[in-house]
């Protein structure tokens, strides 16, 4: 069976959920090998094994400690050259895509980005599904040349455990001249809070310009907490400074595909729809009956969000007794 390389996304050894999704997808194509860069591999090996990693390549060099892209490319290119993998899977994050881009050029391999699903064809080769043109088309594609390099969106599949005891292999990588040409001057980590991450949440409650003020986002948060949801925002709300940019849903924000998406005070501009219209169920609250968001809504309330949302939270509490 072909070896499938999975680039591990982690924070100091704590593996992030998208990596477990990649390992789950990798098992459809062959034997997953995790590529772990930086310190903390010991802590991560167990969880990588739980999700099926047969091997963990560890590159713990000062060059990768700051997680710049080029050292990761050097590492992956070198490991790929010696292991001849059936595919390389990376998360569709900013760093993941940039790593994939450089790697594809270096390996002269085809690149597919933002896959929402991967299956194996009869020869075990990856066939991807992508959602394109603002999520109006579903496209299947495959790589025709080289080692397929594929980035996968978060939430593409549910992580499934498949316990294995991975072989750990330390790798010494020779870093190229561009590995250190980009420096991180400062890094301000995002404070997570208790709510689920936007990309990983089953339910997302988003507010738009209709929320009309940063303090009013408490109404959106209250509904989110009642539904165990992540909070999203339109660009208009973000630009007004009412909610952090990291919560922007849409073409140039995060693209989400939850079971339930609630849009409150959001008109439904094409750029916003691009980031949410693959949600399973869509609910909208808007005081304008002609708002385009209603064209997508499975259920819509034409009304004032300041009345509808608090009543909804109250009624959910009542129903839960």
């Amino acid at each position: 069976m072909a070896e499938i390389l999975v680039l591990v996304d982690h924070v100091d050894g704590t593996v992030r959920k998208p990596t477990l999704e990649l390992l789950t997808l990798a098992r459809r194509l062959g034997e997953p090998s995790a590529v772990f860069l930086g310190p903390g591999a010991d802590a991560a090996t167990d969880v990588l094994g739980t999700y099926g990693a047969q091997k963990v390549y560890v590159v713990d060099a000062p060059e990768v400690a700051e997680h710049l892209v080029t050292p990761a490319v050097d590492a992956l290119a070198q490991i790929a050259a010696s292991s001849g993998p059936g595919a390389v899977l990376l998360p569709s994050s900013l760093d993941g895509k940039e790593t994939a881009a450089r790697l594809a050029v270096r390996l002269e391999s085809g690149l597919i980005t933002d896959a929402v699903d991967i299956t194996a064809d009869q020869d075990g080769r990856p066939v991807t599904e992508q959602s394109v043109f603002a999520a109006t088309y579903q496209v299947t594609a495959h790589v025709t040349e080289g080692v397929p390099v594929i980035t996968v969106k978060p939430n593409a599949t549910a992580p499934e455990p498949a316990p294995a005891t991975p072989v750990v292999e330390k790798v010494d990588v020779t870093f190229g001249p561009t590995a250190t040409a980009t420096r991180v001057l400062s890094r301000t980590p995002r404070v997570g809070g208790d709510r689920p991450e936007l990309t990983e949440a089953d339910v997302v409650v988003s507010g738009g310009r209709g929320v009309n003020g940063a303090e009013n986002f408490a109404i959106i948060e209250a509904l989110a907490d009642s539904l165990g949801a992540a909070v999203g925002a339109s660009r208009a709300a973000v630009d007004a400074g009412w909610y952090p940019h990291s919560h922007q849903v849409g073409q140039t924000g995060t693209q989400v595909s939850p079971q339930l998406y609630v849009a409150a005070g959001i008109s439904g501009a094409i750029q916003h729809r691009a980031g949410m219209q693959t949600s399973k169920t869509i609910v909208a609250v808007n005081k304008d009956a002609d708002a385009p968001i209603f064209e997508l809504a499975d259920y819509g309330v034409v009304g004032d969000l300041f009345k509808v949302l608090p009543q909804l939270v109250e009624e959910i509490d009542r129903r839960r007794g």
Binding site: G110, A141, T182, R183, T252, V285, Y299, E315
Partner: protein, 261 residues
């Protein structure tokens, strides 16, 4: 210094875009425009020159004949000159092929800084800037919502809001950067700008001019292939109710029926 801004001509994202039978974008179905996200790249390049960086701004596009429109629109916003790479053998290129053509044209022209948009509004892969950096052997400083260039110490510095952290990154020149739609609103071309653009030089190049063999680009050289394209069925409009005092209660009932409560 030499600044090259990469601008892509794309099917209008606000219209209904479709595919042709061979899985490539149907360019005749809707009007094409300058990719909206590249307007921010143009804006940043112009702001750099206005902030005192002594630079010549050249726009570069790879695309069919009418891609010249994207160059004219950019030139109308400001800047000095443009390069249009067009060749039948480029049709159907993947990101690798496109980045090869762009990189060869950039090398031929010479550069200190390449400015790109964060992603096109059609393929929207967001990988071409990093591919260019790889091909040109220079740093990539991407997805910036703030950008500063220092010609004296030969560096480019920017701020990027990533998924888990906000980082300030610095690269040495020459470099490739990409900027987001938060980097600063793009200007509208003035009437004077539109008139001036007509006189600015636009050089047209083909693959021969760039020493690129025809078999290196285009659909036949693409290293990935589309198997199927299917339009998502439009979402059916659901139940829309006017709030007459019990809108929240009705919504709770819907969410309960759907098992979210």
């Amino acid at each position: 210094m030499k600044i090259v801004v990469c601008v892509k001509h794309v099917p209008d994202a606000t219209a209904d875009r479709t595919f042709t039978e061979d899985g490539t974008t149907d360019r005749d179905a809707v009007d094409s425009v300058l990719s909206e996200l590249d307007e921010y790249a143009v804006e940043q390049a112009l702001r750099l020159t206005e902030s005192g960086v002594d630079a010549e701004v050249t726009y570069l596009t790879v695309g069919p004949d009418d891609a010249k429109d994207a160059l004219r629109k950019s030139l109308a916003m400001g800047g000095d000159r443009a390069i249009h790479v067009s060749d039948d053998d480029i049709r159907g290129s993947d990101a690798l092929g496109t980045s090869l053509v762009l990189a060869k044209a950039i090398e031929r022209h010479g550069f200190d800084l390449v400015v790109c948009g964060m992603a096109s509004t059609d393929g929207s892969m967001g990988v071409v800037p990093a591919m260019l950096a790889e091909r040109l052997g220079v740093p990539a400083v991407t997805h910036l919502d703030e950008l500063a260039v220092s010609a004296e110490d030969g560096s480019v510095t920017g701020r990027r809001e990533g998924e888990s952290a906000t980082v300030r990154i610095q690269g040495t020149l020459p470099a490739v950067v990409s900027v987001t739609d938060r980097s600063g609103d793009a200007r509208y071309p003035s009437f004077k700008g539109i008139m001036a653009a007509k006189k600015k030089p636009v050089e047209t190049l083909d693959l021969t001019d760039l020493d690129i063999e025809p078999e290196w680009t285009g659909g036949s050289a693409a290293r990935s292939a589309v198997d199927t394209t299917a339009k998502r069925p439009p979402r059916t409009k659901g139940e829309i109710v006017a709030d007459e005092g019990a809108g929240g209660v009705g919504l709770a009932a819907f969410l309960t029926a759907k098992k979210f409560v």
